[in-house]
Amino acid sequence: MADLKSPANILTVIVIGLFAVVPFLAPALGEPFYVLVFARIMIWAIAAVSLNLIMGYGGMISFGHAVYLGIGGYAIGILSFHGINSAWIQWPAAIGACAVISLIFGAISLRTRGVYFIMITLALAQMLFFLSVSAERYGSDDGLNILSRSDFGVSFFSLEDNTTMYYTIFAFLLASVFISWKLVHSRFGVVMRATKSNETRVEAVGVSTYRYRLTAFVIAGVMCGIAGLLQANFERFVSPDMMNWPRSGELIFMVVLGGMSTLFGPVTGAFVFLMLSEILSTWTIHWHIIFGPFLVLVVIFARGGIHGLLTRGSDRE
């Protein structure tokens, strides 16, 4: 962050600026549809930022991170199904559910390393995916419609208003980046980054890393759960598909595409990923046939992601 005029920082400012003005800009340009697209991008960006916390700064490659989108979303959906719409109940419930489940999943999976960790996070996430598929009461495969968005019980702030909803998501996105920035540079963050770099050495200076990795895992789970509860509110719909494993793969790709271990990279990654799929899918319904090889090429040739390419040579985060 030494050079405020570095290309990466300029890109960051442009993307944030775009997020801020789209609700006015898009209708003015006759493309109101893009307000929806940008809201979705921001929700995914929050999830990608949360994944980057553990993957980019902690070296934990979770291949089941989208499950917290699902948990956060279903907490809203299920409570709403039972007629509980108060945000003061829904939101703490969603956050609490994510905290408890990420604590359990983390406690199990962090006992392992490397490939095992990747596969276990995937398998545990699929377990909840199949659970949601088998929950006939809550719509199984078809998902669950949410009739009204979370109600804060005050007249001046209602998520039913689309602009309020949009800027609420925007505020949470800024908060998630800011919190990441504080975390990464705190004492806690130093331990995280050091553990990624050389875990044996961290233990040899007297720090037992498991508790720190688990804490980070839970923080990331909760942050992603907030993205999930926003998604459920925004779309007025939850379905098992939002936590199916390809979503976790896409999240990883967003982080890598934008630039892993950079603060804003995941946001740029989510932006480019979703815009690209939006554009490609208007060309052909078979857009995956281009997108798949594109992904392979990014992995092989552009390892640092977009922010990595922009900051090449100068110091990285």
Binding site: T112, M127, A135, G249, F253, H288, G292, V296, V299, R303
Partner: protein, 307 residues
Amino acid sequence: MDYVLLTEQFLNGFQLGIILFLMAAGLTLVFGIMDLVNLAHGSMFMIGAFVGGTIAVVTGSFVIGVILMIPAMLIIGIVVEMTTLRTLYPRDHLDHVLATFGLILFFNEATRLIWGPEGLVVPLPDFLEGSVALGAITYPVYRIVIIVVGLLVALGLYVLVAKTRIGMLIRAGASNRTMAGALGVNIPLLFSVVFGIGAVLAGLAGLIITPITAAQIGMGEDVLILAFVVIVIGGIGSIRGAFIASIVTGVIDTMGRSFLDVFLLLFLPENAAESAGPALSSMMIYILMAAILFFRPQGLFPPKGAR
């Protein structure tokens, strides 16, 4: 409890275990030897089903489909290995996951383009139709064939790895790549062949269940995740571990889905058992996996030499 149903479901579970083993064997070899996380293994399962199935439909003979599928998958596997995966060996696991995730998207879409979104129905040949009596139960001939074929492949694989020169090279390549290279082993070729064999096994698995389930886009992915569970339980790189874990996983999963609600009725009220049964049974193998990992973080048969 119904004894006939119990035996039947046990055999069904065993048969699922065989399919899982065919998938897991290739995966675990590639993991163990090349240290490569290969999600596209699920695509090999699907491609084997579509390619072999098409040959079977065109020629009118399922057997010819199976026979021609073998060289086809060998070639496809080797091509995929040589064009894409080879560049990934020196990379970290994250790059493996992402690049092979990209391959899945590509293969799924290519399959949709070629065969259409509906999938492909492959009829059983007449001589495999029908059921035979096994003691008190009658059981479909074809499912017995799957079990027998799977057991033969498992035996063949064991002989290949444990007794032959190729197997020796595979084991040497797995334990010490540089050393094997120094001894004049053509490592790139060895890796291509191992990958090809894995692709054939996955393709075989996909093809032989196609008469039961029909070939569908993305059919390999659920099996892939189950195969991951199998590998985690069995221990990476262990064929023996993969076999035991496959059968255990297949049997527990199938039996759980059939009998867990009956079992829960023993100590839960009826409506609770009926709603908890399906939910819990879909989670059972994952709970099993978590339990095994809790006591043995490296699986039941951990690889020799710490990785």
